[in-house]
C-alpha cells in the first residue's frame, strides 16, 4: 500500500500548518521555485509579453506598408472592428462551426468511448485506429477532405451522398459542412479519450444495483453514467469549445475563408499577415482573446456549480 500512502502527501499540500516554517520547508520551497521558474518564465515571455504587446499595438495606427504613419489612435481600431459587419459575420460563422462540431463530437465521442469501455473484444484495434485522426497533421486531414470533395479529383461526388454536379466547397452551407466534418473527424478521438477517462470513474456496482432494481440500459446510461460523468464531460467540452473557436488550419486549407466561411482566426491572419496592418489586426487578436476568456469563464462557472451540486448530493 505504498502508493496510496504516498499519494495524499504528494497530491495536495497537507493541512495548513502555518505556525512555523522550518528550515527544511524553506529549502524545499526554494527548490520548488527554482524548478518552476524556467517554465513559468517561458510561458510569461512567449504568451504574456506578446499579448501585452498586442494590446499596445491595437491602440496604434500601425501598417507596415506605411511605417511612417505610426501613431497612437486610442480605441479607434476596436470601434472599426466592432462596427464592421465582417467581424460579426465571422463571429457567427465561427460560432456555427464551434457549436456544430462540438455537439457532434460529444455524441460521437461518447459512442466511441462506450465502445472502448464496454466492447467485449477488439478494444486494442479501436484504440489504435482512433489515435490516427488524433495524431494526424490537421493540414493533411484538411487536404484529404478537400480533395475528397473536389469535383474532378474527389471520390465523394457521384456516390449516394452527393449528386454528380455537386461541389459543396463552392457554396456556404456545403463549405461549412465540410469544415465541420474535418474538425469532427480530427478531434472526436480526443473527446472520446477524455470521456473514456470519465467513464472509468463510474463504479460498476452502481450499474449492478440499478440492474437489480430493473433499470434498462438506456435508463442506466442517462440516470447513472451521465450525471456521474458530468465533470469529465464539461472539461472535455471546455477544451474542445476553446479549440474549435480558434479554428484556423482546416478552414484555411479547405476554403481560405471563401464563400463566407471566414472564421475570426482567418480574419485576424488576413489583417495581420496579408495586409500587414498590425494595429488593426492586433485589435482583432485582442478581441479573440477576450472572447476566449469569456467562454472559459462561462465553463468554469458551470463546472464549479456542477461539482458543488454533486458534492451536495453525495
Amino acid at each position: 500500500m505504498e502508493a496510496t500512502t504516498a499519494q495524499p502527501a504528494a497530491t495536495k499540500a497537507p493541512a495548513p500548518k502555518k505556525a512555523k516554517i522550518t528550515e527544511r520547508a524553506r529549502a524545499e520551497r526554494k527548490l520548488a521555485y527554482l524548478l518552476c521558474a524556467p517554465a513559468l518564465i517561458a510561458m510569461l515571455i512567449v504568451t504574456g509579453y506578446p499579448i501585452g504587446y498586442a494590446v499596445y499595438l491595437s491602440l496604434q495606427k500601425y501598417d507596415l506598408r506605411f511605417p511612417d504613419e505610426k501613431e497612437f489612435v486610442g480605441l479607434s481600431n476596436y470601434s472599426d472592428v466592432l462596427t464592421s459587419s465582417i467581424w460579426w459575420d465571422d463571429v457567427l460563422t465561427t460560432t456555427i462551426i464551434t457549436l456544430a462540431s462540438v455537439a457532434i463530437e460529444l455524441v460521437l465521442g461518447m459512442a466511441i468511448a462506450l465502445i472502448m469501455h464496454r466492447a467485449i473484444f477488439g478494444r486494442g484495434p479501436v484504440r489504435a485506429a482512433i489515435l490516427i485522426p488524433y495524431g494526424i497533421v490537421t493540414v493533411v486531414a484538411a487536404f484529404a477532405w478537400r480533395y475528397a470533395f473536389d469535383p474532378s479529383a474527389g471520390f465523394v461526388q457521384g456516390t449516394f451522398l452527393l449528386g454528380d454536379d455537386a461541389a459543396p466547397l463552392t457554396e456556404r452551407a456545403g463549405s461549412l459542412v465540410v469544415i465541420i466534418l474535418t474538425e469532427v473527424w480530427k478531434t472526436t478521438p480526443f473527446m472520446a479519450l477524455l470521456l473514456l477517462a470519465g467513464l472509468s470513474l463510474v463504479p460498476d456496482e452502481l450499474h449492478e444495483a440499478a440492474k437489480v432494481d430493473g433499470a434498462s440500459t438506456v435508463q442506466r446510461f442517462f440516470r447513472i453514467t451521465i450525471p456521474l460523468m458530468k465533470p469529465a464531460i464539461l472539461v472535455a467540452l471546455l477544451f474542445r469549445t476553446l479549440d474549435a473557436f480558434r479554428v484556423f488550419d482546416s478552414a484555411f486549407i479547405l476554403t481560405g475563408g471563401a464563400n463566407r466561411t471566414e472564421t475570426v482566426s482567418i480574419l485576424g491572419y488576413n489583417v495581420l499577415i496579408n495586409r500587414v496592418n498590425l494595429g488593426l489586426g492586433s485589435a482583432v487578436s485582442v478581441l479573440i482573446f477576450i472572447a476566449v476568456i469569456l467562454i472559459a469563464a462561462f465553463f468554469v462557472k458551470v463546472l464549479g456549480t456542477s461539482t458543488a451540486q454533486q458534492r451536495g448530493e453525495v
Partner: protein
C-alpha cells in the same frame, strides 16, 4: 464469460465502423499520392501504384528542407519543453510550497490561449530581433504552448512514482545520485516518454505559427510548406505531390501511435481526470 452471437455481431459492426471512420481519409490521401498525373482527376478511390509523386517531392529542395526543419524544430522543442516541464512537475508532485495554484492556473491559461492572438506581436518582435524565419523563432512558441500539456501529464505520472524507494536505496548504501539514476529514472521514464510523444505530435502538427513566422526553406516546416507547394507548371495545382508529402508526414505519426498507443491514451487521460 460467454456472449450471445447477437452481442458479438453488434460489437463487431461497431468496431468496424470506428476503424473505417478513422482510416478512410488516410487511405484516400495515400491512394491519391499513388496516382499518376493522368489518374489524379479520375475521381476513383483507388487507381493503381505509381511512385512518381514521391520521386518528385524528394527531388525538390523545398520538401526535403521542410522535412528537416519539421524534424529538427519539433525534436528540439520537445527536448526543451520536457526538460522544463519535468522540473516543474517534480516540484508540483513532490514538494510543498505555496504557489502551486499559480503554476497550475498559469499552465491552464496557456493551454486555453488562442495562438492567433499573439502571432502578430510575435511577428513584429521576431523581425525586430532577427528571429523571423529561424528555428528558434518556432521552437520558442512550440515549447511554450506544449508546456501545459507536458506539466499536467508529467505531474500526474510523477504522483504515481513510489518515491520512498529512493530513500530505501540510499539506506541500502547507494549514493543519492545512484539512487536517483537506478531507481527513479526507470520509474519516471515511461511518463517522460509519453509526455514527449504528445509534445512532439503538437509541434509536428502546428500550422499557424509555421505559416506566419517563416517564409523560406530556412525554417518552413512541412505543414506550412504543404500549403505553399508549387505545381508542375505555373498554374497547376499539385494534388499528387501534396498528397505524397502529406503521406510522408503522416507515416511517423502513425508509427508512433501504433507503437505507443497505450502510453498516449494513458497520457491524454492522466492529465484530464483530475479536472
Amino acid at each position: 464469460m460467454t456472449h450471445t452471437p447477437r452481442e458479438k455481431a453488434f460489437w463487431s459492426i461497431a468496431i468496424l465502423v470506428v476503424i473505417l471512420y478513422a482510416l478512410i481519409p488516410v487511405a484516400w490521401i495515400t491512394s491519391l499520392s499513388l496516382k499518376s498525373p493522368d489518374q489524379v482527376a479520375d475521381g476513383k478511390f483507388f487507381s493503381g501504384f505509381s511512385f512518381e509523386n514521391y520521386d518528385q517531392i524528394f527531388s525538390e529542395n523545398t520538401f526535403n528542407a521542410a522535412l528537416v526543419n519539421s524534424l529538427g524544430i519539433a525534436a528540439i522543442a520537445t527536448l526543451i519543453s520536457i526538460a522544463l516541464a519535468s522540473m516543474a512537475a517534480y516540484a508540483l508532485a513532490r514538494l510543498n510550497f505555496a504557489g502551486k495554484a499559480v503554476i497550475l492556473s498559469g499552465a491552464l491559461a496557456v493551454a486555453m490561449f488562442p495562438p492567433i492572438s499573439i502571432v502578430g506581436s510575435l511577428f513584429d518582435l521576431w523581425r525586430a530581433i532577427g528571429l523571423y524565419d529561424t528555428w528558434p523563432g518556432l521552437i520558442l512558441p512550440y515549447m511554450t504552448f506544449t508546456l501545459p500539456l507536458a506539466i499536467y501529464t508529467l505531474s500526474a505520472f510523477f504522483r504515481e512514482i513510489p518515491w520512498e524507494l529512493e530513500q530505501a536505496a540510499q539506506v541500502d548504501g547507494a549514493t543519492p545520485f545512484q539512487a536517483f539514476r537506478k531507481v527513479i529514472v526507470p520509474l519516471a521514464a515511461p511518463g517522460v516518454f509519453t509526455a514527449a510523444i504528445l509534445v512532439f505530435i503538437f509541434a509536428w502538427n502546428d500550422f499557424l505559427f509555421a505559416n506566419t513566422l517563416t517564409s523560406t526553406t530556412d525554417a518552413q516546416t512541412v505543414p506550412a510548406a504543404l500549403a505553399f507547394f508549387s505545381g508542375g507548371s505555373r498554374f497547376t495545382e499539385p494534388i499528387g505531390a501534396i498528397s505524397a508529402a502529406a503521406v510522408v508526414v503522416t507515416i511517423p505519426i502513425i508509427i508512433m501511435v501504433l507503437i505507443f498507443q497505450r502510453r498516449i491514451v494513458a497520457g491524454l487521460t492522466a492529465g484530464a481526470v483530475k479536472g
